[in-house]
């Protein structure tokens, strides 16, 4: 179990976040869906974007406090188009 507020804090500490959705998928605070938009992602491949997010949440992912993380990363341009 891991509080969404802590996920928010940890991501914002490592990444310049312009939009962030954290959705508790199961109501048990261990299966999350995260949609994250950042200018840091400009000009990078999704693999490195996902690696950055996973690295920012490495501790709770390794401990199992976050059991599953469904992730979508977007650049600000991609986010504008997706809206």
């Amino acid at each position: 179990m891991f509080e969404p507020e802590k996920i928010d804090q940890m991501l914002r500490a490592e990444i310049n976040v312009s939009h962030l959705d954290i959705i508790d998928l199961t109501g048990t605070r261990d299966h999350y869906s995260v949609i994250i938009v950042s200018e840091d992602f400009n000009g990078t491949m999704p693999l490195s974007q996902h690696r950055r997010v996973n690295a920012a949440l490495a501790a709770p992912l390794a401990s199992g406090e976050i059991h599953a993380l469904q992730l979508k990363t977007l650049t600000p341009d991609e986010w504008e188009k997706a809206k």
Binding site: P46, L47, H50, Q70, L71, K72, T73
Partner: protein
Amino acid sequence: MNGKKRSNIMTEKKKISLNIVQPKTEELKTRVEGGDIVSEISAEIANNQIVLYMKGTPAEPRCGFSARASQILGSFGLPYHTVDILVDPEKRQAIKTFSNWPTIPQVYIGGEFLGGSDILTQMYENGQLDTVIKAL
């Protein structure tokens, strides 16, 4: 000793690079052929333009994420090589280390690690996967 060699390479880069023998993919042996697991994985991704490490097979996937990855790759109408890691415990562990990625499925395109299920889905939806596959 190494330091001296390296400095020679730095100053005579052009000359020396002519003499470098590139390793050939034929030298990557599978375990059956006497190679190790890393060599076998290297051979798989060198010899197939699209490789999917998955749980089960495209016809009988054993996990929803693997099923989805297989469907996405299949939608391009190109051949793709699949490896069922459930029948190979050694490879199941090794591929995670090899890719530095903790989960299955995993996709390699053009010899490069593309990512796992979420990345494949994201790149399918935004058109990046189409670009990567067309560049093959």
